[in-house]
Amino acid sequence: MTNLGWSLVEALALQLAPAEREAALGDLIETHPTAWQGICEIAGLVVRRQLQLWGSWRPWLAAPGLAFPCSLVLLGFSFAISTELRDRFFLLGTVHHSPASSAEPVLFLCQIVVLLVCSFTAGFLIESLSRKTLIASAVCCFLPCLSCLMRFHHESLPRLCLLLFLVPGIAGVRFSRCGGAIRRPTAIALALAGTTSMAVLAAHAYFWALNWELIGPAWYLAVRPARSGHTSSLENGGAIQ
């Protein structure tokens, strides 16, 4: 097998658990396959392992169930907050007056609370529900982003403002990946803050049924059965029991 072929095989094998990677690569070395055979062998094992993961409900809830719709809705919140920020802090004293600039400070605050709470808890929950399929969840999150970024044309707002929600979202993912835990009182406080803010927004015509999905992760964390500790999560590949 050529160096390039072996490099490809090793790169593919990175998708496997360390012990299984060692065993599979060692078996390949013993049988002296061609590069193509080696790639097919490892790819076959990787595909089987991925398919096994998707036999559970967790990746389905994490990727198409949470990452996709939350991303879709949070894009809108990111845009609304960016517009507010522009109007409040960058266009003061100018003749520009958009409808959003007349919104009450309370609504602006509620939007920020929803963005922070819901992005963080969604990121945390997506990672802890199905750590091994995080790439698929990321793809589901970026699909709406990509679509919106390509269509977004606004004179005074950069495209990246749509991705504002990714900052707390990635923070939630990292917090979970580093073994962080959200205790029940904190989760309940976050869920209440998110729900109250959402209710205020809904009462002021910011109502969209899908918005309410955003507070789902916070409430899931608040009402899920208590765990004995983070160990149980690690033993299950990071999956919340």
């Binding site: 690569l25 094992l45 392992r49």
Partner: protein, 110 residues
């Protein structure tokens, strides 16, 4: 405990190889016996299933120079695995007893 055909092949290969039962050796044994390919993916996912059923036990062992020092996944058949394989074997023998290909006919010679 019922077994599938490939599960039976794996258990039999592991039992035959004894202390030398690990991934590559078992693949080789299965391919020689069946004249069919045996992918690493099928081998390791089936081993996981057998281990979950309590029919085999696996552990990681040190590698050898011919495999670049990479560790091996060793396999040992448990008593439950041996019993399941024995049941499967006897079922095959019983059902095959009267099958045309199992009973040599005078005209089949050559």
């Amino acid at each position: 405990m019922t077994l599938g055909e490939f599960e039976y092949l794996l258990i039999t290969a592991a039992a035959t190889l004894g202390d030398n039962a690990y991934g590559a050796a078992m693949r080789e044994a299965i391919m020689q016996a069946t004249d069919r390919s045996c992918s690493i993916g099928a081998l390791y996912t089936t081993l996981d299933r057998l281990e979950a059923k309590g029919l085999v036990r696996t552990w990681m062992a040190d590698g050898t120079p011919e495999r670049g020092g990479r560790s091996r996944r060793m396999v040992r058949v448990t008593p439950a695995g041996k019993a399941a394989a024995r049941d499967f074997y006897h079922a095959i023998i019983r059902i095959s007893n009267q099958a045309p290909w199992a009973t040599p006919h005078p005209g089949d010679a050559g």
